[in-house]
Symmetry: C2
Subunit: 350 residues, 2 copies
């Protein structure tokens, strides 16, 4: 069943059917009715692939993400698909598993795919090949927008968060609670969130005249297991830290596992602030203070940024189009860690 069959049944030409389908005004109401009836009768749906080939464009966008099992990423995905479905875009989902090779292969396979846009959380911000490939998409007229992570030296649009500020506030909070020995489980140096959060950490310490102790800075690679090991290393120091700033949700879990296995209590034995909230903990008596972000909204926003690029292309306004890099604010959710001060003062039980 194709457009010719419908045309024949409606007694019109394929061109007219096409006009009806696409809402073209130049069709007599009577003709439109006939066509619509024929479409209805045959449960006909125009072939989007034929249409795409003909107009050289599709409604498909690709989303490349390291790991959808991580709630942070699946929330973003939800934000993207919700927004996308409002505008009838279809979302291809690809997972890189934090593997640059996989990322390259996905990008390679996308070359022939006639996608309308690309949203990516790149594995690394200094991956030359990824950067090159993304630039090529832009050159071909396919907008690329980033979310959370960046590509160094690029000027793709993107939605990021104020990681430096967020980390700063977390560490500041610990300092104000009286901590001096504050460690950090960092993320990969090769990602903006990774090094920016470290930067925020260092800035806070410096601003409060606390010397930076390199022994207190251990890479957790945004991985649970690595964070666990990092905690072990930290706690086995001659002078273990009294507080830890963990740089993402996975590393926070690694920290918690260490604490649990060693019978250490939050606040009382050690303070911990995580980056990104962990919903499930609210149902427990782990009152974890975290740096929170509007994750779902970031997903929606990145989709909006992409649509904005589409509209600019339509208007041919390429020159006027300025780069948009949105930084969402983080906020600190204090959950009990402020008790530390009281604890120090000796009245924990209050």
């Amino acid at each position: 069943m194709n457009i010719y069959d419908i045309a024949r049944e409606a007694g019109v030409s394929p061109a007219t059917v096409s006009r009806v389908i696409n809402g073209n005004k130049n069709v007599r109401e009577e003709t439109r009715k006939k066509v619509l009836k024929a479409i209805e009768n045959n449960n006909y749906a125009p072939s989007s692939v034929a249409r795409n080939l003909s107009i050289g464009e599709s409604q498909n966008i690709a989303f490349i993400v390291p790991d959808v099992e991580n709630p942070f990423f699946s929330q973003i995905l939800q934000g993207i698909t919700d927004k996308a479905s409002d505008s009838n875009y279809n979302v291809f989902m690809f997972g890189t598993k934090e593997d640059p090779e996989r990322e390259h292969r996905i990008l390679e396979s996308l070359k022939g795919e006639l996608i309308k846009g690309l949203i990516i959380i790149p594995v690394s911000e200094i991956d030359e090949e990824t950067a090159f490939r993304l630039t090529n998409f832009e050159r071909e007229g396919i907008p690329v927008v980033l979310i959370d992570r960046d590509i160094k030296g690029s000027n793709f649009d993107g939605v990021f968060s104020e990681d430096i500020q967020g980390a700063y506030e977390a560490v500041e909070c610990l300092i104000q609670e009286g901590h001096k020995k504050i460690a950090m489980i960092t993320g990969p140096e090769t990602s903006r969130p990774g090094h920016d959060r470290l930067r925020g950490y260092k800035m806070a310490l410096t601003n409060y005249n606390i010397e930076i102790n390199e022994d207190y800075i251990i890479n957790g690679n945004f991985i649970e297991e690595d964070a666990y090991k990092a905690m072990k290393t930290l706690m086995e120091l001659k002078e273990p830290p009294t507080a830890v700033f963990s740089s993402n949700n996975m590393t926070t879990l690694g920290c918690l596992r260490y604490l649990k296995e060693h019978g250490l209590k939050l606040v009382e034995d050690i303070s911990l602030i995580g980056f990104d909230d962990i919903k499930e903990l609210q149902y427990t008596d782990i009152n974890l203070t975290v740096v929170a972000r509007p994750v779902y909204e970031m997903g929606q926003e990145v989709m909006e940024l992409l649509e904005r690029r589409f509209s600019y292309k339509k208007e041919g306004d390429r020159k006027k189009m300025i780069v948009r890099r949105n930084y969402v604010k983080t906020w600190l959710i204090k959950r009990g860690s402020e008790k530390y001060k009281k604890f120090q003062e000796g009245n924990v039980n209050e």
Copy 2:
């Protein structure tokens, strides 16, 4: 840059370029080299949409899921995309938000999409329209496979879990710990997991000669908030239950919230067994016993089932093809709830 450009540059015909691209054997090695070089030189990738139109088939599969933010679903998604990428399938992700209308609209939009297969977690098993639409896909030669939830009266392939058995074992466990007053927060009657788990619950009680108390059965709709309210209702009964079986991960969280807000301790004050594990709880001191399933593997398996359908189509073996409905086993992860018995006996502190 298209296949004609490459042909011209390589000094061959488009057909030959096509042969090279598709790994056709009937090409002289020398010719192949020339073509590959031209492809390389121009960073050319064949248009998949043109190819799809030509062969009347694509490598795209659609995955329709209620809510990717639910870890259960995002794990499935991960399993699917991992498996899909092995075979170079692209996965379209659509979210229904448990809304039948949305589901219908998605299915409608898919009619013209030339997808190769469809994986769906339907909102309801008794939705006539969805059932009808899915059947149409099958009729058009597009295989449909289900995961977790079912379509009543259909015989689509699918991957499910042994929900009756799983629920039975959970409730049996509670009984063996000495509980008599066992409540259940159920899921929607309109989903297989919903009613099957209820069935398992009832079977266990019946088998152990415990009368079924309808006051102890409250619908949580697989929703956190509903489960919270259900818990409230239960605990305000004249004779509140001593144990609760919660039928999915969301309802379990609702239960936990109620317990937390009312200062009730697991095991000591009330026993709780959930369906589906909640990873994050392992990092806390909530030792929750759960019915677990191989979720990620279910995702992989459903993709395998789909591929199996593809291969049958290729072999034209339609008649020999029998329906495959795989039921994965669940297992009980006991985490501390067995302490109840000891508690009853008066030696909790051991």
